[in-house]
Every structure is written in C-alpha cells, then in structure tokens.
C-alpha cells in the first residue's frame, strides 16, 4: 500500500485518535504508521506534526533516531537478523547470505518488487536460541538453512505472517537452574495483600531492610529509590518498568516477562503502593513485540481480578493501572533518562543528571525506574520479609540473581543463583566447553580469562546486569571485540562528542586491523580512545564503550597481534583502493591503472 492512496487521512486520523493526539505518544504513533505503511512518508510527517501540535523538525528528530522507523519504504516483509556475537558464532552470516540469495535482495535494500527487505540488527535477546531473526518485528529463533528456506517460501508466496506455522514463533524459556524466584509458585495478589496488611511504611522498611539492589546494572538500593520518589515534591508519580533489555547477551527479562508477568506487574503495583503512583509504564523493547498481546491479556486479567484499576484490594485511594509502551530499536533507551525521553515521544538522548528521575522524571514528575527483575524481587520481600531475603546472597548483594548464559556452552539458558556464585560454577553447570574467556554483563561489561573464573558474581566482585557470554578455546577474541565496537558505533545516541565520534573512530580502527593494515600504533590508539570516552562521556554507554575492547587487548593480545602489519605505522588511506572508483568509471584494469603494492 502506498501513502498516496486515499485512506491515508483516515488511517492517520484514526491512529491519532487512538493515541488521544498526545504528542507524548509520538514513538507509539510512528510505530503504528511504520507497521501499516512500511515507512513514514514526508506527507505523513506533516500530517502528524499538525495533528499533534508539533513542528516537523520535532517529528523528524524522533523518527530519525530509532532503527525500526524508516523514511524509505522497507519490504512488505522486513527481515532483520540479530547480529550479536553469539548469533555470529552460531552462523548467522551463512543464513543471511542464503536468504539474500534466495530472495534476490542485498543488505539494507528492498527487493525490486517491494516484497522483502533484509538487514542486520543489534542483539534481539535470543542468544540461547540463536541465530535469531525478526520478521516484521516478530521473533523467529533457532534459524537453520532449512528454516530459512521455509521462510523464503512463505515470503515468496506472500503468506500473511498470521498464517505462518506457529512453531516458527516459539520462544523457549530454557530455565536450567531455578532458585527462590523461578522455582516458587506465585499466587497473583498474594504479595500485594501482604504489603497492604503491613501498611506502606512497614513494607518500605522491609524493602530497605532486605538491602535489595537494582538488577538493571547500576545496583542502586531499591528501598532508597522508592523512598526518594515518595518524598519528592510532585503532582503525580509514576512507576516505570525498564524492559528494554538491550545489553547484548542479556535475555533474562524476556523470560521473566513471558513466564512470570504477574510477578513483574505486581512488583509495579507494590512500588505504586509505596510511592503513591497512579500510573505505571512498561517500556518493552521493540524486539519483544511478539509478547505484547499476551502481556495485554495478562493486564486485563489482573484488572478483572481487581489487582489493577481503582481501589485495589479495597484500599481507598490505591488506584493504579499499567500501560505498555514499545521501544523502536535503540539500545540507549535502556538508560533510564533516555527511556523517559522516549516515553515522552522524543529521541532517546540521556538527560543531564541530577536531577534524577526520582525527583524529575516522566513528564517532569517523580518517577521510579526499575528493572524487570528488581520488580520481581520486591514481591518476594512482601511475602517473606526483608530479614528473610537478606539471608541469601552476600553482604553487599543480597538475594538471588538471574543470569542469561549463552555462547560455547552445552546448556545455554537461564540460571538463577544466590549472589556470590563463582563464575567457574556457572560454567560447570552450563557445560562450558573449554572456556577461554567469559564476557560478563554484555558489551558494556568486562572480559575475564580462565585465571579469573574463581571470582564471584556480586556487586562487590564481578557485577552483572545478567549476561554471561562464554567463548571456547577456538574463539578469536578480536572478532568479539570487533562485534562490540560495531555495536557501540551503531547505538551511540550522538549527543556527546567523545562517544558520538569516539565509537566511530574505534570501529574504524578495528576495521583497519581486521583488514591487515593495523600496527602497534592502532593498539595504542584504541587504549587512548577508551580512556577519553571513559573520562568525558555523558552517560554509561560512552563510559563503557571501550572497556571490553581494552580488556581483550590486555588479555588476548595475541589475537590482535597476529593481524598487525609488521610495521610501526600504516596510513589509514589506501591509495590503490581509492583508485578503484576511477578504474570503474574509465573501464580500465591494466597494470598502469594500479599502484604497485610495496609488500
């Protein structure tokens, strides 16, 4: 369908109406338009700007920021292949090439008939069942050449996605080790009831007593965060569930949302009970669109059971409901202030902190942003108390942690352990095959060698947001580093100089080394860049964008050095390659049209 067809006005009118013509819902509106028309055309931008009372530039600013939104039409079937290092290790390139050949389409392009487009995308959170792809935003896991053929046939015969065999869309939980959270039965409403019985101050005291720390990465004490939001001045308060889970290699929030959604939602209600919020927002990453309908159903059930809505559990004034907002392909939107910008319909550029969201957050009001897993943990505290909870884990890291384990292991999946577990234990349980390196906490985390496997998962030793990627003895750590460099280049929001430019320079240097033109000089450059980004960046993305790469240079120098040219310096500019275009234009390819290489 093209936007010039009549009906454009009425579709947009309807969409705007559905979203209450609220400019704060711009990202949601653009996602609807993208899904309907496969792109957001110039005249659509004008209509939306007008209908929302925004400038054209404001709409463009949001539109151009998100990977899943495009100004140019994508194919009627848009296929995006997850490009995390674990997907690469499972052979995603071969599958990509196979589909490209069969569908007659090249990377980033649309087939001539407009039927299909094909590209790569950042980690889609299916590392335990990769290689994974997204078809029109819906996840397909465990790709094989056979499955690729099946999908190509379905696309070719223009079968609507709704009629594709459902086994293509099955997503497993792969829970391999369940502990106090994953193994426990949960009766929806039980945690809320317990908290209401205690009263909000007493429950907050229990949360503080438990010493629960946020599972999203930073490890901030949850009770303190809630208390700050409760005490902050504001006209309204909000609870945000951070389900952006963009950190490569992390997929535990996906499992919690898909199989433990009542816990997550009840955790939000508990937070609302304490801070006095009326509205909760789940920021669900675009890659998890497949579970949206199921989550909406769950919310409807909870409303029917009067665990959401007005006067919850008969408590006067305890009114709380939850909305789901979709992300649109931007890792930075996991950072809490960028996330809030996105919730407000804007590009996800991190705000200046302070003020922190607890005092000035969503729509300028006190806002609690918590990770999915954190919100599950607060239900345990409501049920069993803070002292009980504090009895698990270590002194500074209480309770259990859900880990996503992927890479060279026999049993990739979800492992829940009390904090303090040694990395070696995790590796043994997962059946790691001759592990050479472990990347903890995703591309932004740290890389450890076998000498460090005795260390413990805990905030006081090796902190992690949940990702453990294992690399076997035969793996080339340079390729891992290069994958991460490409990831950060793609995901930098572009706000601040060190990260915007630094991540690109870093990726270019890695490409130069990969092409065999790197020298010792480039190795030093990478380390220096990392230092500058770590010192001067505006947010966590830039601060950590060079960490894993320098870790790998320190620990696996040989993987880099075997690629280096045996010179002190090689120019970045390849004169002969630059002449290729001239040769192409003039149709020459004789010896005189080439510069002799001096090798």
């Amino acid at each position: 369908m093209t936007t010039t067809e009549t009906g454009l006005g009425s579709f947009l009118e309807l969409t705007l109406k559905q979203h209450g013509s609220d400019p704060g819902r711009l990202v949601q509106i653009l996602l609807d338009v993208q899904a309907h028309y496969s792109h957001v055309a110039p005249q659509v931008i004008e209509i939306l700007a007008e209908g929302l009372g925004l400038t054209v530039g404001a709409v463009e600013s949001t539109l151009d920021f998100y990977s899943f939104l495009t100004r140019e039409p994508t194919g009627a079937y848009r296929i995006l292949c997850s490009d995390n290092i674990t997907d690469r290790m499972l052979g995603n390139q071969a599958i990509f090439d196979h589909m490209a050949r069969r569908l007659g389409v090249s990377r980033g392009k649309v087939s001539a008939d407009g039927l299909v487009s094909l590209d790569f995308t950042s980690c889609t959170g299916m590392c335990d069942q990769g290689p994974a792809i997204l078809v029109n935003g819906i996840a397909v896991t465990k790709m094989t050449l056979h499955r690729a053929d099946q999908i190509c046939d379905l696309v070719r015969s223009r079968v609507p996605l709704a009629h594709w065999p459902s086994d293509l869309f099955r997503v497993e939980h792969n829970i391999r080790r369940a502990d106090m959270l994953l193994a426990a039965d949960f009766n929806p409403g039980s945690a809320l009831r317990a908290a209401v019985e205690m009263g909000r101050d007493a429950y907050l005291a229990e949360v503080k007593r438990s010493n629960l720390r946020g599972r999203g990465g930073a490890g901030f004490t949850t009770g303190v965060k809630w208390e700050a939001a409760r005490n902050a001045r504001g006209d309204a308060r909000y609870i945000v569930c951070n389900a952006d889970e963009g950190e490569p290699g992390t997929f535990k929030d996906r499992v919690l949302l898909q199989f433990y959604a009542e816990r997550v939602f009840e955790g939000m209600a508990l937070a609302a009970f304490v801070v006095g919020a009326k509205l909760g927002l789940v920021y669900l990453r675009g890659e998890y669109l497949y579970m949206r309908a199921q989550l909406e159903e769950k919310l409807a059930e909870l409303r029917a059971a009067r665990l959401l809505g007005g006067t919850i559990l008969g408590v006067q004034g305890f009114d709380f409901d939850i909305e789901i907002h979709m992300g649109a392909g931007a890792y930075i939107c996991g950072e809490e202030t960028a996330l809030i910008e996105s919730l407000e319909g804007k590009a996800g550029r991190p705000r200046i902190r302070p003020p922190f969201p607890v005092s000035v957050g969503y729509r300028g009001q006190p806002t609690v942003v918590n990770n999915v897993e954190t919100l599950c943990k607060v239900t345990e505290i409501a049920l069993h108390g803070g002292a009980w909870y504090e009895g698990f884990g270590t002194k500074q890291s209480t309770g259990t942690k859900v880990l996503s384990v992927a890479g060279d292991v026999e049993r990739p999946g979800i492992y829940e352990y009390p904090f303090g577990v040694r990395i070696a234990q995790v590796l043994e349980d997962a059946g790691a095959k001759n592990p050479r390196a472990v990347q903890v906490s995703g591309a932004a985390g740290q890389c450890l060698t076998s000498r460090e496997f005795g260390r413990r998962i805990a905030f006081e030793d090796v902190p992690t947001a949940g990702s453990i990627m294992v690399f076997g003895g035969h793996r080339d750590m340079f390729e891992v580093a290069r994958n991460f460099a490409q990831f950060f280049q793609h995901e930098s929001c572009g706000f601040c100089t060190p990260c915007r430019v630094g991540t690109t320079i870093q990726a270019r240097i890695m490409a130069k080394i990969a092409a065999g033109h790197g020298t010792q000089y480039e190795m030093n450059e990478l380390q220096h860049l990392c230092q500058v980004m770590r010192t001067a960046s505006h947010c966590g993305l830039g601060l950590t964008a060079g960490t894993a790469i320098t870790d790998m240079i320190d620990r696996f120098r040989e993987d880099f050095e075997k690629r280096l040219a045996r010179r002190d310096f090689e120019p970045a500019f390849d004169l002969d390659a630059a002449l290729a275009r001239a040769r192409e234009i003039t149709g020459r390819d004789d010896a005189d049209s080439r510069l002799l290489s001096d090798a």
């Binding site: 931008i45 004008e46 054209v56 600013s61 572009g494 100089t497 915007r500 430019v501 500058v532 505006h538």
Partner: protein
C-alpha cells in the same frame, strides 16, 4: 568571601552565587574553562564535553555541575587539556572544516580553542561526511559541513526567539541539524537575521550574507588574543 560561597579552581579560590555552575562561576570570576556548547543565557546542555574538569577527583562537565562550597576543581592540567585536545580533534575530523576558506576563521571558537590548546594535527582519519548547504534564505546561509552539534541554534531559536527553527535529528554520527519546516529550507521559515539564533553559532555553520570578510583575517577576534585571555569581554558581550 567566605568558605561557604567559594570553591577552589586550580589552586585559586573562586566565588560563586547560589545555583551557578562551576563554569558560570569560573567565567564570572574571570577564570577560563574551555567550552563550546555553553551560553550564559541558555540552560546548560553538556554535550561538547570541552569543559570536562575533575571535581574532588571525579571527572564531570563544569557547565552542568553546580558549584558547591569546598569543591576542589582541577581544569588547567596536562591530563585534562590532553583529553580536550582529543575532543577537538574528534570534532575536526567529524565535520568538514577547511579553515582557510571559512568566513568565520579567526572568529571561530572551535578554531580558537584548537590554537589555544595547541592541537597541531587532526590526528584521526577524516570522516568527510556529505552535509547540506542551504542558501535559500535571503540574509543567512547554512553550511552544515562545519556544524559541531552544539544545539546552540536550536536552543536560541526555541527558548529565546520563540520560533523553533532548528532541531537535532538522527542518531550517532548521523546526527544532524534540520530546519523545521516541510521543505527543510531556511528560506521557507520565518527565520530572520535579527534572531538570536542567527548569531550564536560558535563555528562557521550559520553565516550572515553580504558581510563576508568585512574584517580582514589577521585582525579578527582570536587573531588578537587567545580565547582563554578574553573571558571578561566575552562575558560582557554575550550577556
């Protein structure tokens, strides 16, 4: 001066008013901290990171950190100036800055800082991006080749002129300033030469037409004295 209204910058006490950032207080006292995206009349932005300092041993942006009594701020140190030099090099290679042919040469804050911090080469491989030129407006011309994404024009037009002529779009190195109208051309907006936004660009991306080279090169602002030595005059003019 009492202890509760001053901090220490590079060993010297600096007085501050409540609510001032470290950068504001420093400039007001006549001390220079390098900066590009700061403007005394607009809310702090914190994107260029040239003002990176060390406050009680921790790095941060002087333009966004509030001045507090007893802070120990380090700014003019080899370590910080080294980082700033890299940031400048990043800005130079990211855009297309051919200073000898630029009307702003000698009046440009980017160039002036590069001289002042002794940035001798761009160091990194140039990106040579393809960027827009827009001469559609009768009095002002845009050359985004030189844009450093400081958003001063965005803020001036939105917060001061009340016109909202510019916006920052895109992500990562694809970030770019767009003109806020359906055609995307400055000539189709109500932008005027008298707008604040027409005169805030710290580099040569927003230029006034027909006044090129009125002051010859060699006699321009930063030809006469380095940027760091012009704090009082700069403050007086901008305020």
């Amino acid at each position: 001066m009492n202890d509760y209204d001053r901090f220490v910058l590079d060993g010297r006490p600096v007085h501050f008013e409540r609510g001032q950032s470290i950068l504001e207080a420093a400039l007001a006292s006549g001390a220079y901290i390098p900066n590009l995206c700061h403007h005394p009349e607009f809310k702090p932005h914190g994107s260029c990171k040239l003002c990176t300092v060390k406050v009680n041993g921790r790095f941060g942006s002087a333009c966004t950190i509030k001045a507090m009594p007893g802070q120990e701020v380090a700014s003019d140190t080899p370590e910080l100036n080294g980082i700033r030099r890299v940031l400048l090099q990043m800005l130079f290679v990211e855009g297309n800055h051919f200073c000898p042919g630029c009307e702003r040469s000698g009046n440009c804050n980017l160039q002036a800082l590069a001289y002042d911090l002794e940035m001798l080469t761009p160091h990194y491989q140039h990106f040579f991006p393809a960027r827009e030129l827009d001469a559609s407006h009768p009095d002002v011309m845009l050359d985004f080749n030189r844009c450093i994404m400081c958003e001063l024009c965005v803020r001036a037009s939105r917060d001061f002129d009340g016109k909202n002529v510019f916006a920052l779009a895109g992500r990562g190195t694809a970030s770019h300033v767009v003109v806020n109208c359906p055609s995307g051309k400055l000539g189709d907006t109500d932008f005027a030469l008298s707008d604040k936004a027409a005169s805030v660009c710290p580099v040569g991306a927003i230029l006034h037409k027909r006044v090129g080279f009125a002051v010859p090169i060699g006699e321009r602002r930063y030809d006469l004295a380095p940027i760091s030595a012009q704090v009082p005059t700069q403050q007086a003019e901008e305020a």
